[in-house]
């Protein structure tokens, strides 16, 4: 009898704990979303009236417009470059044995350990030293470095899921190495490449800390513009931008899910 009561208590408290954890995960987004529709010009919760004017302001405010455009440009360049470079490294790490392989792996994954502000500061000092300034090349390079580990990991895992016997079978059937790559390896790798690119894009689009160091007025990305805004104003425009941010990222993931399945995008699906 006592055992049953205590096991029931455990079950209930377990559910409550899980519910609380889930609530805390979504809570920030919910609070900000609600605040974005606040009628009054203060960032507060709960809202006192309903309005969409902050969305209008978010979409028309000049710094946000250029910031969004800059972010999209940097994201496109950085994640595409990171994908190309990362795929090469992933293939080298997976398929070939060479000296200093362990060290190379360590260097490639090190941006996971080094704080983003260190990367930003370091590159800023480097760029200044080379008189390159805070231009596009430095900004894109910063983002490539930050997202590269994720791309390499994603592609590496996809490579691991490809049975090398498929490539041997293709070779035995008369496929030259180039044909094996284009007809077998790359098509099977495609989901990994897409998910790697997507990860990189989402991370790059959201990157703030390192970008703060290496951007100037002309190149500032959306998160940097938002930071500049919040230092001057305290109205719900920022909340509205956040909602747009969430919507864009969610749309990207939904799209990827439709074409690939979320399991494949997140690279958690094992085997084929």
């Amino acid at each position: 009898m006592r055992g049953r009561v205590s096991s029931r208590l455990l079950r209930v408290s377990g559910r409550v704990a899980v519910g609380l954890i889930l609530a805390f995960i979504v809570l920030p987004a919910v609070v900000v979303t609600i605040a974005a529709f606040n009628e009054r010009a203060i960032l507060s919760f709960p809202p006192t009236g309903y309005s969409t004017r902050w969305f209008t302001r978010a979409l028309t405010y000049r710094d946000f417009r250029t910031g969004l455009w800059n972010s999209l440009v940097v994201t496109a360049w950085a994640s595409t470059l990171a994908l190309a470079v990362g795929t090469g490294f992933a293939i080298a790490l997976k398929r070939y044995a060479f000296r200093f392989k362990g060290s190379l792996e360590g260097v490639l994954l090190s941006p996971l350990i080094v704080p983003h502000f260190t990367i930003g500061l370091g590159l800023l000092m480097l760029a200044t030293g080379l008189s390159a300034g805070q231009g596009w090349p430095v900004l894109v390079l910063t983002h490539v470095i930050v997202v590269l580990p994720f791309v390499i990991r994603s592609v590496y895992i996809s490579l691991q899921n490809i049975d090398e016997r498929l490539e041997l079978a293709a070779a035995s059937l008369g496929a030259r190495p180039r044909a094996v790559l284009t007809t077998i390896t790359l098509p099977l790798l495609a989901p990994g490449l897409v998910s790697g690119w997507l990860f990189a894009a989402i991370l790059s689009f959201n990157e703030f800390t390192a970008s703060l160091f290496v951007t100037n007025q002309a190149t500032q990305t959306l998160p940097v513009a938002m930071y500049g805004y919040v230092r001057e104003f305290a109205d719900p425009t920022l909340a509205a931008v956040s909602v747009i941010y969430i919507a864009v990222t969610a749309a990207l993931l939904t799209l990827a899910n439709m074409f690939l399945g979320l399991g494949k995008v997140l690279n958690v699906e094992q085997g084929r």
Binding site: D163, R165, L166, L168, A169, A170, A171, S172, L173, G174, A175, R176, A179, T183, I184, P187, L188, R272
Partner: protein, 381 residues
């Protein structure tokens, strides 16, 4: 539809490529050797595979049989020796120029292609015209009784069907040699037997030279024209299934092919090709070849198959005294485990189920040993 389509393709319309000049073997290995680092995976090996032959590489895992197959396929490069396929030197030829067909244990079907695309892959790589590809793919699918499956995805097929696709894909390019890497081990037992018979039929019909790798001696005995028994990177014996089963050349082959009992004996005398061995009170003749190193009086091991031992009443003259230890029901027969007076455990295979009632564990029995068909080797170590 399927069986009819298969019938209307005579072997001549689906020929195996036979480019070997008269008298040349389909595959020839001259002193081929392969090392991995400091480990010699394959000792110097000489081997001839005759055109149309079904040759099996048999041995436990790590014996070098897969290395040998990979060398033939061109997936590995030999450290020494030469490989000829159809009379052509191919030692340094990459796999895509060797024209070999291969079926892997897991079939290695391309998951992103339909069955027809899988089968047609080798032809597309050769730039075969589209119409001819379509025709030959259809023929190949009919050959393996999979007509109507052309548009399926490999994922939608059972293990047996996947294997047929893999076989069709390998055969459609009219390979000079068909290589099979443990193709049956992923199938369940019932399906395995049926697929073995079918493979053998197709192989015979096409006359395609086939090299088959397996660790299953039953498979090797039932399918092969000749068996190459390997262990520790070395060829131990090459012979017909009957030769390796009845006349094993060394201790390893005798122990690996079929079930076998080892009886402790002594070499009594050697006279020409024959030798006399005693086991307890019994005296038996064996071939002397394997006992050249042994002096009279030296211990030797006498190998006897479980179905060759006979069950006699205890104390009968000319039998070995033993005691029943356990009875194992096997359906069509009983495996009776018995301990000899000298301590060794032996297995006697008795047809039918009669022994279950009459020979409870603990019963004293006599074991009869046949006069012929015995082999003896020096003890291990």
């Amino acid at each position: 539809m399927s069986s009819k389509a298969a019938e209307v393709i005579p072997a001549a319309d689906f020929p195996a490529e036979r480019t070997a000049p008269r008298g040349e073997p389909a595959v020839r290995l001259d002193g081929v050797l392969k090392r991995f680092g400091t480990v010699t995976a394959l000792q110097e090996t000489w081997l001839r595979v005759e055109p149309g032959e079904f040759l099996t590489l048999l041995g436990p895992s790590g014996c070098g049989k897969t290395t040998l197959l990979n060398l033939m396929a061109g997936f590995l490069e030999a450290d020494a020796g030469e490989i000829f396929i159809g009379g052509d030197l191919v030692t340094a030829t990459p796999p895509y120029e060797r024209q070999i067909g291969i079926v892997f244990q897991n079939y290695a079907l391309f998951p992103h292609m339909s069955v027809a695309k899988n089968v047609g892959y080798g032809l597309r790589m050769r730039g075969t015209p589209k119409r001819e590809i379509a025709e030959r793919v259809q023929e190949a699918l009919a050959l393996v009784k999979l007509d109507g499956f052309a548009d399926r995805s490999p994922r939608q097929l059972s293990g047996g069907q996947q294997q047929r696709v893999a076989l069709a894909r390998a055969l459609v390019i009219r390979p000079k040699v068909l290589l099979l890497d443990e193709p049956f081990s992923a199938l369940d037992k019932n399906l395995r037997g049926a697929m073995q018979v079918e493979l053998k039929e197709i192989q015979r019909r096409l006359g395609v030279t086939t090299v088959f790798v397996t660790h299953d001696q039953g498979e090797a005995l039932s399918l092969s024209d000749r068996i190459v028994v390997m262990s520790a990177g070395r060829v131990r014996q090459i012979g017909t299934p009957d030769q390796v089963y009845r006349h094993p050349q060394d201790r390893f082959v005798a122990g690996f092919i079929g079930d076998v009992n080892v009886l402790p004996g002594r070499l009594e005398a050697r006279a020409g090709a024959r030798a006399t061995v005693t086991v307890g009170e019994l005296r038996r003749e064996v071939e002397a070849d394997a006992l050249q190193e042994c002096a009279p009086g030296a211990p030797v091991d006498l190998f006897v198959r479980p179905d060759h031992l006979g069950l006699r009443p205890a104390g009968e003259a000319g039998t070995l005294p033993a005691q029943v230890a356990a009875l194992v029901y096997q359906g069509s027969h009983i495996d009776l485990h018995a301990d000899l007076a000298t301590g060794e455990r032996v297995v006697v295979r008795i047809p039918g189920q009669g022994a279950l009632a009459t020979h409870a564990p603990g019963t004293a029995i006599g074991l009869s040993v046949p006069q012929g068909g015995l082999v003896a080797f020096p003890p291990e170590g």
